[in-house]
Symmetry: C2
Amino acid sequence: MTTHEASLIEVARLAEVSTATAGRALGGYGKVSERTRERVLAAAAELGYRPNSLARSMVTGSTHTIGVVVTDVANPFFATALRGITDVTSPAGFEVLLANTGGELAAEQRAVTVMSEKRVDGMIVAAARPGEAAHLKHAMGAGVPIVLIDRQVSGVPDADSITVDNDRAAAEAVEHLLELGHRRIGVITEAGDQLARVRSGTRRRGLFPSAVRLRGYVTALGAAGLPVDETLVASARYDRESAYDAMNRLLDLPEPPSAVVCTDNVLASGAYRAAQDRGLRMPAEVSLIGFDDEPWTTLVRPELTVVEQPTYDLGARAGQHLLDRITAGATPRRPQHIQLSAKLVARSSTGPR
Amino acid sequence: MTTHEASLIEVARLAEVSTATAGRALGGYGKVSERTRERVLAAAAELGYRPNSLARSMVTGSTHTIGVVVTDVANPFFATALRGITDVTSPAGFEVLLANTGGELAAEQRAVTVMSEKRVDGMIVAAARPGEAAHLKHAMGAGVPIVLIDRQVSGVPDADSITVDNDRAAAEAVEHLLELGHRRIGVITEAGDQLARVRSGTRRRGLFPSAVRLRGYVTALGAAGLPVDETLVASARYDRESAYDAMNRLLDLPEPPSAVVCTDNVLASGAYRAAQDRGLRMPAEVSLIGFDDEPWTTLVRPELTVVEQPTYDLGARAGQHLLDRITAGATPRRPQHIQLSAKLVARSSTGPR
DNA sequence: CTACTGAGTGAGAACCTTCTCAGTCGGTGG
DNA sequence: CCACCGACTGAGAAGGTTCTCACTCAGTAG
C-alpha cells in the first residue's frame, strides 16, 4: 500500500524483458510472443501496474479528453446537454474535462487556456459572449477543434456549431397565441436591452439565444401586421425573482397583455408564480408560454404550454460532431452549422382570448 | 495558423537563452534577471507559446485535475452538487474530469481506472454499489485521495465521506406525519427489496441513501409504537412512471395509507402526478412528502412538503475536503465522515388526518 | 590581492511512455 | 553453403517540462 505507482520500467525489470517489449505486451501494439506476453502480464498484475496516460499522451499527441465549457451546470438545460455529450463520447473512450464559467468571459478565457495547456483533443463551448473569439481562435489555431453549442459566436468561422432554431421557436410561440386571438402579447426576456438591435435586423452570428428569440417574437408580430409595443417587452435577469417582477410589471400596465411568452425555463417559473400569486386564472385571464419541457410543466395546474428544445440531442450531436472532427483529423471539412428545431407543445396554460 | 504548438525549446532559441532559463522566466520559479525575463516573455508572446501541462505534470507529479464520478449528471441533485464542487475547486486552480456511470458498476470501475491513469490528484465519487470497493482501494493505494459523496461504501475505510443524514431526514418526515395524526403511512422507495435487511439493523456503511431512508421510516414508526405494514412499502425504480404506478398501488389497497413519503425527488413527482390524476385532494384525502426542495415544489397546488437536502453544500464541502487532502499531502489525517442534516419544509401537501 | 558571496545562467538528468531501427535466431529455398 | 525471410527482441531517441548541480562573473569583506 505504498504511494508509489509502478512504472513500465519496473514491470519490464520484473519480467526480465526490455521496456519496449513490456510496452508492446501491455499496449497491444507490435509483436510479442505468447510466452513473454504472459510473463509481462503477470509482472504487471503483481505490481498493480497502471499505465501513465500523461507519458502516453506526450508521445502519441492525443489525450482522449475533450473539454466542455458551460455557463452553469446546475441549469437543467446544460446538465441534460452534458449528459448527452458524455453518453456519446464515453463509449468512444473520451473523458470530459468540465469547466463552469458562470457566464463570465474571464472565467471562460481561463478555462479555454487551461484546457489548451492540458492538451484536450477538442472542445465543446457554450460561450459567455457572442463577440469574444480571440481565445477560441487561438485554440483552433493550435489544432484543437471546437464545437459551439447553444450560442453562436462571431469571429470563429472555423468552428462548427449546434444551435436551436430560436428564431422559429419563438415565432411559433407567438403564432400559437395569435391563432388563439391574442393581440397584446408580452414577452419576458434577458435580452431586453438589445431590442433596438434586434429590430434593426442584425445578422444572427452576433446574437445570443435570448436575443434571437426576441427577434422571433418581433418578426412574428410583424408578419401578422402587428406593431411592436415596447412596453410589452419586459427585461429580466437570469433568475426567477427577476422574472416574477417582470411579469408583475406587465400585468400592472394600464393595458396589460392577454398573453405572455417567456424566453427561458427559469423565467417561465418566475412568471408562472407571479400569475398564481395574483390569483389570475390561466388561460382565462392570461395565457402563458415557457421554454424547455421540464417535468414540472405538467404537474402545475394549468399545465404549461412550452416550446420544447431538443436539449439532450443538442449535447449528443455536439459530442458526435466533435468526435468526427477529432478522428477525421487530417481531412478538414468545411465548418458545419446545424440548427435543431424546437417544438411547440400546446397545453392548458394557453387559450383563446 | 499552423497546427503546431510552440515549445519551450523554441521560445528559448528565439530568446537566445537556455530552456532552463526560459522555463524560469515563464514558470515564475527560480531567479531570472529582469532583462532576460522580458526577452523570454516577448519571444513567448511572438510564438503564441502555451506551456504543455502534460510535460509539466510528468515532472511535478501533479495534474491539478480532480475526477468526479456521478451516476447521472442530468439529475438536478448531482448537477447542483457538481456546481458546488466546481465553484470551490476552480478558484483553487483545479479542473474537473467528469464521468457519468448511469449507476453501472462496470462504468464506474472503468472511469476510476481511466482517471487513475490520467493521474488525477484526487477523486469525488458517488458510488454505484455500496459494497464494491476494489477499484477505489486500488486508487487510494496509489496515493489518490477519494471523497465519497451521497453514498457510503463499505470496504474503503480510508476514504472521507460527505453524506446527508438520511436516517434523520426520513424519520423527520414520518414524525411530521405522525404529529398530524396519521397512522397508516406509506413509503415509495427504490430500496424496497432491502426492507428485510433494513429491519434487521445492518450497519450504515453497507446501505445506500434510499435504504437508509427506508430505515429512518422504519425506526420512526417503531419509536411511535407502530408496526411496519409491508404492504405500505411500495417499490419503484428510479423513474417517474414507476413511482406513478407505485403510488397507484398504494392507493388501491383495501386500507390505503392516509399519507405517503417519497424517498427521492423523481419519485415524488411521479407520486404527485398519480394523486392528481385520481382527482384526490391533498392533503384532505392523502398527504404527500417529497425529497429535495426543487423550484417546482412551490409551483404546484398544493405546494409540496419536502425534506430539503443541502445539495450544493454537499458538493462544495466535498470539493473543499478533497483540496485539503491534496494539499495536506504528507500529513495523513484520519478519514473524516461528515453528515449534513436535511431540513423538513412543511407546506400544504401535508395536513391533519 | 585573496577569498568569499550571491545573482544569474546553462548543461543535462529525470519523468514514462511509444516508436523507429537495428539486430538475433531459427527456418527455408536455391 | 549462402542468401533470405519472418518472428521476435532490445537499445535508444523523442516528447516538453522541471529541477539539480555546477559554473561564471561582478561585487565585497578581509
